[in-house]
């Protein structure tokens, strides 16, 4: 992958130029799907875009010192990390990639939630700190399962290159790994039943309580980009392999859309779980499957 294709992927497709409208679109799809399933009509199509523009035009409180500077920087880091993660997804066939791009993708996917934790603590608001503590506990619980699932998929395919990994899907282990990733997505995206870090009304807005105006707009955008990156990761793993570029792009969007709908349905059907129930869910129920997946993947690898 030379520098030009890398830039094109980061800035045009599937990077910023595609990812930002896609982020708004997925945020709208999520809100609209939840509204329709609750028997409401829901927000108009352009709603996340209008929210973003309005927040850009609002004021921010005067903050001085290191804490103020940090509060301006965290959302920017989150947005750029999420956009970078989207840019790494191997959407188009033969898009290259490099050995180990999966590890970079995982790191970039993790950065926004790290930023959220740091942001809540640097806002010095008690609700922000509670939200950050919850986010940290949640992150420790689901990441074990998430990483084990990814490693088991990678071990069954003998590679850490996303594109090569997405090509062979014959083993049932692969699908077990994808299923485990899917179970972790609601926690990664902070939607019900794992919406406890930013539990609306319960602890005001969690880590985002003190953020306003353009900073909040950046948080909304990074949340949307996380949607694109996380659902896109699943979409690239489950989409059938095609050689035509536009068909591959279309399939990517279609599968991401389906995953968004699935997650919205889960979010509508469930209520928010308490932190201890959430942690128990990941450590007791899903960890077993993840350990099973990785142990059988390693076992099969040594046998072959």
């Amino acid at each position: 992958m030379n520098i030009l294709t890398a830039l094109a992927r980061l800035l045009i497709f599937p990077g910023l130029l595609f990812a930002v409208p896609a982020a708004w679109f997925f945020l709208w799809v999520e809100r609209k799907a939840v509204a329709l399933m609750q028997g409401r009509i829901g927000p108009p199509f352009m709603q996340p875009f209008w929210d973003f523009i309005k927040l850009m035009g609002k004021g921010t409180p005067n903050r001085s010192g290191i804490a103020g500077a940090l509060m301006r920087v965290w959302p920017l880091i989150a947005v750029s990390a999420a956009a970078g993660a989207v840019g790494l997804l191997p959407v188009l066939p033969k898009s290259g990639g490099f050995e180990g791009d999966l590890i970079l993708l995982l790191a970039l996917l993790e950065l926004p939630s790290m930023c959220i934790i740091a942001a809540g603590f640097s806002s010095r608001s008690i609700f922000g700190e509670i939200g950050s503590a919850r986010e940290a506990a949640l992150s420790v619980s689901y990441n074990i399962v998430f990483l084990l699932a990814i490693v088991s998929v990678a071990a069954s395919q003998h590679t850490f290159r996303l594109e090569a990994m997405a090509q062979g899907k014959d083993s049932p282990l692969y699908w077990l790994g994808v299923l485990a990733i899917l179970v972790c997505l609601p926690a990664k995206l902070h939607i019900n039943p794992f919406s406890l870090p930013n539990a609306e009304q319960e602890i005001y807005s969690g880590p985002m309580t003190e953020y306003a105006g353009p900073e909040l707009a950046m948080w909304e955008l990074s949340h949307g980009l996380e949607w694109v990156a996380a659902t896109g990761l699943v979409a690239t793993l489950i989409a059938p392999h095609v050689t035509l570029a536009w068909v591959a792009g279309l399939l990517f969007v279609a599968f991401s859309f389906a995953v968004v709908l699935l997650l919205s349905a889960v979010a509508t059907a469930t209520a928010r779980l308490a932190i201890d129930t959430t942690v128990r869910f990941y450590w007791q129920c899903t960890l077993i499957f993840a350990v099973l997946a990785i142990s059988s993947a390693l076992f099969m690898r040594f046998r072959s």
Partner: protein, 168 residues
């Protein structure tokens, strides 16, 4: 620049985020405010979102006759909402202190303490009246922008509810 301003006007009109504050209300208006977000009235069609933090809000919805205890809280929260902002007084209590008038525990009405843009009268007002008041406040936000000066107070009329045809 002109295009950006027009875009901003539209965005402010289309995305009013509310923060709800109870200033000693009997909970009647609070229930009606929440009812306006339920499937039957669904204020989210207008882009309305009830926010948990006053920092995120554009429109401050205040219910209740403003008790002595609530005055400082109202002023703090009003300061925490960042501009451009609007205040909607929901119910008859914040407008006139209603049946509690002349009580020694009250410091109302509301517009003695913060500038109010829209009054939604009623005890409690219907959810459709509240939605209309919020929509008027969003319109005011779009027209006024960052200018702090308050020209005139709007009183939202209580709309005649549209009766849906009930299928037998």
């Amino acid at each position: 620049m002109k295009l950006w301003n027009r875009l901003m006007c539209t965005a402010r009109r289309k995305s009013p985020w509310l923060f709800h504050m109870n200033a000693g209300s009997c909970n009647g208006c609070d229930i009606e405010l929440v009812a306006s977000l339920t499937p039957r009235y669904d204020a989210e069609q207008l882009g309305v979102r009830l926010e948990g933090s006053p920092r995120h809000a554009d429109i401050l919805c205040i219910t209740g006759p403003v008790t002595n205890n609530a005055v400082n809280a109202i002023k703090t929260v009003y300061g925490q909402v960042l501009g451009p902002k609007a205040v909607v007084a929901i119910g008859s209590c914040p407008a006139t202190t209603n049946v509690f008038i002349d009580s020694r525990t009250l410091a109302g009405p509301l517009n003695k303490h913060v500038p109010v843009d829209v009054f939604v009268p009623g005890c409690p007002p219907r959810p459709d009246a509240i939605i209309q008041g919020v929509a008027r406040a969003a319109q005011i936000l779009a027209e006024r922008g960052n200018a702090p000066a308050l020209t005139d107070v709007v009183i939202a009329e209580i709309v005649e509810p549209v009766r849906a045809e009930v299928q037998p």
